[in-house]
Structure formats: structure tokens, C-alpha cells
Amino acid sequence: MTLPFLQFDRVSKNFNGNSANTLVSFEVQQGSFHGIVGENGAGKSTIMKILYGVHSPDSGTILLNGISTQFNNPNQAIRAGIGMVHQHFKLVPTLSVWENIILGHEPTSLFIPKTNLLATIQQLQNDFGFSLDLEEKVETLPVGQQQQVEILKLLFRKARILILDEPTAVLTPQESEVLLNRLLQLKKQQKTIILITHKLREILEFTDTVTIMRQGKVVATESTASLDEHKLATLMMGRDRQVPVTSQRSFEPQTAVLEVSSLSTKSRKGLQLRNLSLNVAAGEIVGIAGIEGQGQEELVQVLTQLKSFSGHIKMLGEDLLNFTAYQNRQRGFGVIPPDRQKNGLILPFTNEYNLILGHHWEKPFQGLGCLSFPHIRQFAQDQLKHFDVRPCHPDLSTATLSGGNQQKIIIAREASDRVRFLLACHPSRGVDIGAMEFFHEHFRKLRAEGAGILLISSDLDELRTLSDRILVIRNGAFIAEKAASNWTLPDLGLCMTGTES
């Protein structure tokens, strides 16, 4: 038997008394594509950060080529040939692609030998099948290509092990496909790939071996060939996962909560919305599918009154512009924004404040112009418990929560019982299956109670599972509409990418 290339031996790590990793042991073979899968907070990222020298383990050892290794900082890890692509890219947006690649690893000559370096990097691109324009500024690149810059940066540093933390969370389905195939290419060239994800499909289609983690512990390390989706989900969740059901409407839709007719926007640069018409009825979920950047963001801006438009929009039976954004919220309009950290939360605020944000001026949260702390606390505790936010502390800063739990706070606030029209953008982006199912169940419950939901998502499974009707948006216009059950996955994909309309 060959010596394992990388071996974790009973590694444990505690943060402030909460154990993030308990006796984690598994092996990764050289030149393999190894997946690490688990729910949010299962300890996947922590164990990789220990390997990468970001955290130091409380106990246990990591063996690289049979030699006990501990890195004190990422530099040492990089020097030992380990590279990590973080979920949030660490690039300098104003510098060009090649400058980002060499940053921190420049030759020591007085002037940077640009021509030589360009040739070196181009050679690297050819070897590994990349085709980036090296002179382009990083800020102008789409996310998928920025990720390629990150990978090239690691290859330039001669990394032998590439760790990717949820790389597809920010990518469109097409970009994800490109990335994963590229990783397969790298594997063929003797690189070892470690992929952290919670998307089962990626694990099953691309990895050789997989380590399943739950609550900081390794549940199993298996060869992928011996697993199927059902088995993997069971191991990951610790219980049987419900197979997605195509939705069934409990009653016929009634009055419209959103009526949009001939909506257009003008803008000097960027995308224009062109003559959109759309109805969402009470008790209905309408999905909008599309590749990112086809006008979804502009539509959200119009509905939340951040962008001017021409055409007519009636929300909850009244002209949208008859009310201010604040008044519309009070009338029962809820928004789950596309970027939860930027637009949905004030991260340094405590959970209880984030839970009442925008409603803080309503009774019983305020009385006589002052915040009423006992009521807020009581409300927050109820909501945190109801939505299963972990850890369940009202006075904890929201910044300390994981992405999925942050999203739960937004949903608790925006999709409460009294919401009558909900605009939900990418509600389960970057959250684990457990939370996603919880959200879906919650949306179905809202629908049953007579709320109308407009769902914008890039997750086609989510759209097909939840929606009654799906519209496809491309280049600022709706190009197709069908009942959700009449869309097949390939149809939808083709329609979105524009190979067929």
C-alpha cells in the first residue's frame, strides 16, 4: 500500500468552547480529486484552514508525505505547495490579471520584467488550458474568470494541492461546469484537488473520493463510486432527505399582488429592461430564471424603488409610486435581497436589531419614540427559535453567524406571517440543504396562506421545485413563460443561454 499523500490524524479545534472539529481523521491520495461535503457549520472550512495555516489545531497532527507538518501562516503552506481559493476572492480589482498573478511572488529585479513574466504565465495558461487576457483589469472580468485568476495564481506558485472553498457558490451553472471540468484537467496533470462543497451533484460527478462531515466530525470517507445521491444525503444530514417534489398549488390564485405592464428602464450604460409584463397572484410563486446579469438586478431595483422606470406597476392593488418604499413595506411587501451581507443586514448589529430593521418604528418595538427593549428581546427570541438560528442569542453580532443563519434572519424579518408579496432573490444561495428545505417549506406555507412570491434564482432545481410558473429573462426582456411542470431542465438551460427561444 502506498503512503497517503496527505493525512489528517485526530485533529481537533475549539473556538471559545465550541468545538469546530473533533478528532477529524481522513486521507487524501496524491493526484486525486477529493471532495469534502457537509452542511453549513459542519467544520469543512475549519479543517482546511487548519491545513492552510490560518488556524492552529488544538490537538492532532497533519502528515504531508508521511511527515508531520504544521504551518503557522498561509505563506508557509504556499511554500510547501498548498494553495487555497477562498470563497470571497482575494484579488486587487484595479490591477491587471498578470499583476495579480505575480503579486507577492515578483522577481527581485529593479523593474518588473513584464515581457518575461507574460511569456511564463502564457505558458502556464497553455499547459493548463486557460485562456485569460492577461492585460485585462480584474475588476472588468466576470466572477468565473476572476476565479480562474485565483487558480492561475496558485499554479504560478507551483501549488501541488489546490483547495477550493465552495467555488461554485458564486458561479452560474455554465461557469460551474467550466470550472469543474478545468479542475479535472488539473487532476490529470498530477495536481491534487480538494473541493469543499455542499452540492451533492458536484461530488458525485467529479470527485474520486469524498469525506462527509457533520457537526465537526468525519462521518465517512468513501470512494465516490460506491455512493449515490440518496446515500450521500443521508450520510450528510444524518436523516433521510426528502426528494424534491414538484409543487402543488393548494388553491387557485386569486387577486394579483403584483401587476407589471410594459416596464422599461433607461440607462446611459449597462442593461435596460425592455417592455416587461408580469403578474403575480396571491397564493402563487412565480419564478424568474436567467443567467446572472440579464436584468434581474434592475428589476429588483425597480420594485424596491431604487431605480426610475417607465410603464405601470401595481403592487398590492395600488400604484407602486403612490407610496414610499417604507410605506410599501408596511403594506406587506417583503424583500430578500440578492446580496444579503450588503443589502439585507447591518452585519455589526446584533441579531435582535437586524430582526426588527425597517419595522423598528412600529409598535410594539417602540413606545413614546424610544425602542422598547423587553418587547424586542421577546420578539427576537421567538423568531430565532422559530427559524432555528444557531447560535440562538439575540444580542450576538450578526457578523458572527454563518451565511445560512444570516439568511434565516433576513427571512424571519422579510417573510413573516403578515407578508403579502415577497420578492425573494437567491434565497438559498450558499446555504446548506437543511436550511434550503426549511426555506422552501416556509415559502410553501406563505403561499398556502395567500401570499404571492416572485422568486429570482440561478438554482434551476429550486425554481422548478417551488414555482408555479417560470419566466426566462434574457438581455432585459422576458423571452419565455411556461408552467413549471412543463419546463424540462435542458429546455430551461437552452432558453437561458439563448441557443433556443
Binding site: P74, L91, T94, L95, L103, G104, H105, P107, F111, I112
Partner: protein, 305 residues
């Protein structure tokens, strides 16, 4: 006309040094509104040092050191202790404007100005024979050496920023500090060096004012030039060459102001104070119109972590 252009260059010189120093600091990601304070301490240092040593070049060296060290104070407060850069810079400015009269009082028993220096102890115009052989340029070949240096400086900085690894790291420190750290470069080190060198460049400005442009240090003699330099950086969108253009423009308004003051006709109609305020009014107006499109380094305004 030739006099007017020469006068413009003379007025622009201190602004160019000051803004190039500020530009380095800001590009490294630290808001630096303490250029004014650095000009003051370095101007005072030059004048006082020159009084005792009678050597302008040694005095310049001393001023560079003091300017750099003062910026290290700003660096220590913002980079190391991670305090707010605006608060820190105000501290430096107040310290400078309070300390200089005190030291003058202690050294020269006079809290408003240092003793006047004899002509031979100041920077003297350098005649450049090479330039004088050209037909038009020869009229501009009789300046202080610092003036020539100032005009070259932005080009040197431009090349440094775009073609050296130090420049690359400096830009990364300003536009993507996290990227710099994950690339294995010390962010603190990069910023400390940038701020020290930035302070040195600002000190050229102070030295020029005290022992080149005039012959003594006068209390608060920087007269807002540090802030005009800051305005030039913003108008120049944090790019060396456009910033140079902005500095020359402000130098031009200064020269214009002097020119107008000497015109007796105008003095009868307009009070002198109005004309004197002209450079400041113009900078305000230009700033208002340029501000909308300015794009500062990304790390500026974020509290460093």
C-alpha cells in the same frame, strides 16, 4: 509672459512635492490629510537647522528625516494601533501647528518667525547650460534645483508605481489589502515604508518654502498648501501625471493672484483680500466639479483591520 510661467512653476513646486508625498500614502490605502502638518514641521526644521549649520543641503536632509518620522507617527497610529486615519492626521496637524511656535520661542525667543537667513545659506538658482541652448526653453533654465526635481518627480513616481514590485505592492495595499496579505506580503511593512517615503517627499515642500522660496520660517507659513495638494491629488484621481497638472494649475492661480495684486487698476475696484482668496476659491470650485467622478483607492475610508 515668461515671468508669469516661471512664477507659476515656482508656486507649483511645493504643491507637487506635497501632493506626490500624499499620493504615495493614499495609494497605500491610508487617508492622509496631514500633509499640511508635515510641511510645517519640515519647513521649521530646515530654517532652524540652516540657522545653525549654514548648509541648505544638510538642512534639507534634516527636514526629510523629520518629515518621514512624523509620518511614521501617522503610520503608527493608523497601521499599528489601527486608529481612524482622519483623527490621527488631525492630531499630526495640530501637533505641528502647536509645536513649531513653541520650539521657536525656546530656540529663538520669538514665536512668530525664525531669524532671517543670509542669501548664501539658502537654495540658490541653478543655471543649467544644457537647457539654455534651446530657443524657448532657455528662458526657464534659471530655477532652484528643487523646481527641476519637482517636475521630474511625478514621472519617476509613475514609473515606480507601474514598473517596480514595490509599486505593485503599494497599489495592492491600497486597492486590495486582503489580496496583498494572502499573497504573503506584509501589509503593515508596505504601508510603513510608503508613509515614511511619503513624509520625506512632503518635507521637500517644507524645505523649499522656508529656505528656497523665502529666507525664514514664519508661523503657519504652509498657509493651506497641504490641503491644496490634497485637492490636487483628488482632481488628479490619485494618478501622478494628472496630479502634476492639477498642481501646475493651482500654481497658475497663485501666480495670477500675485499678478493681479500688482495691478493698481484692479486694486481700486477689488479689495486685496478678495484677490488673495482666489486660489482657494478656485480650488473649491474645481473640487466640487471634479469630485463626482473621483475614485479613491478602495481601502481609503475603511477602518484597517
Amino acid at each position: 509672459m515668461i515671468d508669469f510661467i516661471n512664477s507659476t512653476l515656482r508656486f507649483a513646486t511645493p504643491l507637487i512635492f506635497a501632493s506626490m508625498g500624499g499620493l504615495l500614502c493614499e495609494r497605500a490605502g491610508i487617508a492622509t490629510i496631514c500633509i499640511e502638518g508635515i510641511i510645517l514641521v519640515s519647513a521649521f526644521t530646515s530654517a532652524a537647522f540652516d540657522y545653525y549649520s549654514s548648509s541648505p543641503w544638510l538642512s534639507l536632509g534634516a527636514a526629510l528625516l523629520v518629515g518621514g518620522v512624523f509620518m511614521l507617527l501617522h503610520a503608527f497610529l493608523t497601521v499599528r494601533v489601527k486608529s481612524d486615519p482622519i483623527i490621527s492626521a488631525i492630531t499630526v496637524n495640530l501637533l505641528a501647528s502647536g509645536m513649531t511656535p513653541l520650539l521657536m520661542k525656546l530656540l529663538f525667543s520669538n514665536s512668530t518667525n525664525t531669524p532671517s537667513l543670509p542669501q548664501e545659506n539658502r537654495f540658490l538658482p541653478v543655471f543649467i547650460p544644457f537647457l539654455s541652448s534651446f530657443p524657448i526653453i532657455r528662458h526657464f533654465s534659471n530655477h532652484l534645483s528643487l523646481v527641476y526635481l519637482a517636475i521630474l518627480l511625478p514621472f519617476v513616481i509613475q514609473i515606480t508605481l507601474t514598473n517596480t514590485r514595490w509599486g505593485l505592492r503599494l497599489i495592492a495595499a491600497g486597492d486590495g489589502p486582503e489580496a496583498l496579505v494572502t499573497s504573503g506580503v506584509s501589509l503593515n511593512h508596505t504601508r510603513f515604508v510608503a508613509l515614511f517615503l511619503g513624509g520625506c517627499l512632503m518635507a521637500f515642500s517644507g524645505s523649499y518654502l522656508a529656505i528656497g522660496h523665502s529666507s525664514q520660517f514664519i508661523r503657519d507659513m504652509s498657509a493651506g498648501r497641504g490641503f491644496i495638494a490634497l485637492a490636487a491629488i483628488i482632481i488628479g484621481k490619485w494618478q501622478p501625471i494628472p496630479t502634476l497638472v492639477a498642481c501646475v494649475f493651482f500654481g497658475f492661480t497663485d501666480a495670477l493672484q500675485i499678478e493681479l495684486q500688482s495691478s493698481e487698476m484692479l486694486n481700486l475696484i477689488l479689495p486685496a483680500q478678495f484677490i488673495q482668496s482666489l486660489p482657494y476659491v478656485i480650488s473649491l470650485v474645481v473640487l466640487v466639479f471634479a469630485m463626482g467622478r473621483a475614485k479613491p483607492p478602495l481601502a481609503i475610508g475603511q477602518t484597517s483591520r
